[in-house]
């Protein structure tokens, strides 16, 4: 992994302007919004230690459970702050205006948060899942000593990269895609790896958030707000990097969305395998089906409306990882190794323009 890139990610922060929800304001004038710099890799409720004292005088008496919303959408605390920003702010808004609540936790939408412990265990359980994906077991995480576990969590909590590196190296979660895993990783650029075609196969832990947009817009500024989590598909499925072929970010995203993207050729089908040998066979079958389907489209291209519904692929409007919009041709192993989160998951936000039947045309 590129040390410099990692340091850059760890220093990433989003300026927040946090307003106390009007229903919880008991003082006049209402308290001014709090300005705070939130680490991208952090989690929103961890800001409670700053926000609670700030707003405490304005709050009505009662029990506090902190939660946030953006334009009315309750924010899931277990998604890292930077990922929420990438996903929900089509056009990055700075400062990002959020509303904080200390009452009325929406337990039907959000899983409960019992303070720092919930967040810590959400992190550790994710790390365990990632370890299982990478190594086929999670023993290294399970057998971590208590002090190491505490240090690891503290490092994430405080954004201490050096301490994080020290502890996490013990977990032996190897990088993917690099042929010789024992070689020094420092400046091994993925370009070289591609030229030689020597890509080591591996499973990459990925959490993909797909925002399905049906409205058309050219400018991200005109994008409608995400007003419900039902508009966001969440896909938690590892990406399998196959041996010996350049596997791009584009390939990875498409492989995670088999419902949207049909496989174009048998050659691609092999690299799109997500789960196992059986899947591969099916992908190939799908591919031949698809060829037939494409031919059909060509022969009946006059029948435009029907064709567009059945066969047109959705358009990938945007792919955002760690606030960056990488080129889709970039080798996926580079993305995985350099842009992953501390729990070894790569969080990818995708805006997908899904074409719908246009009734006015028929």
């Amino acid at each position: 992994m590129d040390m410099e890139a990692q340091r850059f990610l760890w220093e990433g922060a989003i300026p927040l302007q946090i307003h106390l929800h009007e229903s919880e304001v008991t003082t006049l004038p209402s308290p001014p919004p709090a300005l705070i710099l939130a680490p991208r890799l952090g989690y929103l409720p961890l800001l409670a230690s700053h926000l609670k004292p700030y707003f405490s005088t304005a709050l009505p008496p009662g029990v506090d459970t902190i939660w946030f919303d953006y334009k009315g959408l309750p924010l899931k605390w277990y998604i890292p702050t930077g990922v929420l920003f990438d996903l929900l702010c089509a056009e990055p808004e700075r400062p990002w205006n959020l509303t904080v609540h200390f009452r009325g936790y929406p337990g039907n939408i959000l899983i409960p948060c019992e303070g720092e412990d919930s967040i810590k265990w959400n992190f550790i359980n994710s790390l365990k899942e990632a370890a299982y994906i990478i190594n086929g077991n999670c023993k290294n995480v399970m057998n971590m000593s208590q002090p190491d576990q505490v240090e690891l969590w503290r490092s994430v909590l405080n954004g201490n990269l050096d301490s994080y590196r020290r502890v996490s190296s013990k977990l032996k979660l190897e990088a993917v895609g690099e042929m010789n895993s024992s070689s020094p990783r420092s400046r091994l650029s993925m370009g070289e790896v591609d030229v030689s075609g020597q890509v080591k196969p591996g499973r990459v832990p990925v959490r993909l958030y797909v925002w399905n947009v049906s409205e058309d817009f050219d400018d991200l500024e005109d994008a409608p707000p995400v007003d419900s989590w039902d508009k966001v598909s969440y896909i938690n499925r590892p990406v399998e990097i196959q041996e010996g072929r350049c596997f791009t970010l584009h390939d990875a995203v498409k492989s995670l969305l088999p419902d949207y993207f049909v496989v174009k050729s048998l050659g691609t089908a092999e690299s799109l395998t997500v789960v196992g040998d059986d899947e591969q066979r099916v992908s190939s079958e799908d591919a031949s089906d698809d060829k037939k389907a494409e031919e059909e489209v060509e022969t009946s291209s006059d029948d435009h409306v029907k064709a567009s519904y059945e066969h047109e692929e959705p358009e990938i409007k945007l792919v955002r990882i760690q606030g960056i919009e990488p080129k889709l041709e970039i080798p996926f192993s580079w993305v995985a190794n350099n842009l992953m989160h501390p729990e070894h998951f790569l969080h990818i936000s995708v805006y997908l323009k899904v074409r719908q039947v246009n009734n006015t045309m028929s």
Partner: protein
């Protein structure tokens, strides 16, 4: 599949195949109980999609004080052998329902049990209410491993908080379970048997039991 080289996991396709067989057999052996149904979930209608989905058993009635009636409907009065070890006194005779979903985890490559409990009016059960309904052995594990045994997490397909049994050890104990089975040593791992064996273990955690006939049927088929 050789038992010795098998890692205790199954592919998502195998899960789908196993799910169908399991649902069929359940219907056959438990005609009086609600059926497990396959719920397909497509992100987008597509004729090419491999059919993702999960198994669902809903509105299982729990009659507060009676731990042994967990699988039965209210009007089902089948006598069950009483196991004192799992008998827990419950506060009141209030009727609660449970929904159980078996969802495939692509990360762990094993099935995962999700569940939720609610009163007859749909009001969700608080965690301490659910705890009362769990067998004694589970309550003990819960005390020791609050964060790594059963936690509330987002249902992968429904986008809402559900209770989830952590799957990180599943592949290992599934392997052990199958290794101990002599018929498998000669015939290999049968995908069809995966779910019934899995639920025979996982079900105990939440008090959901599988009739012996069903387990035996699977073995004799092998």
């Amino acid at each position: 599949m050789e038992v010795l080289s098998w890692d205790g996991t199954l592919s998502s396709r195998d899960f789908q195949a196993a799910a169908r067989v399991f649902a069929e057999n359940w219907k056959q052996f438990n005609p009086a109980l609600p059926p497990w149904t396959w719920v397909p979930c497509l992100k987008q209608p597509s004729r090419l999609s491999q059919e993702q989905g999960y198994l669902s058993l809903e509105k299982i009635c729990l009659l507060g004080s009676n731990k042994e009636d967990e699988q039965e409907d209210v009007d089902e009065e089948e006598p069950e052998p009483v196991d004192n070890a799992t008998l827990i006194e419950s506060a009141g005779p209030q009727v609660c329902y449970y929904d159980f979903h078996i969802v495939y985890s692509d990360s762990y490559r094993v099935p995962v049990l999700y569940f939720r409990g609610y009163y007859i009016d749909g009001q969700p059960l608080a965690w301490d209410e659910i705890e009362k309904d769990l067998p004694a052995c589970s309550s003990k594990v819960l005390l020791e491993s609050k964060w790594t045994f059963i936690t509330q997490e987002e249902h992968p397909h429904l986008n809402r908080p559900w209770y989830k049994l952590h799957p990180c050890g599943t592949s290992e104990w599934m392997k052990l379970l199958f290794l101990g089975d002599e018929s498998l040593a000669t015939n290999g791992v049968a995908v069809e048997q995966y779910l019934v064996s899995w639920l025979s273990v996982v079900g105990q955690v939440v008090g959901l039991r599988i009739p012996f006939d069903m387990l035996n049927h699977h073995k004799s088929c092998n």
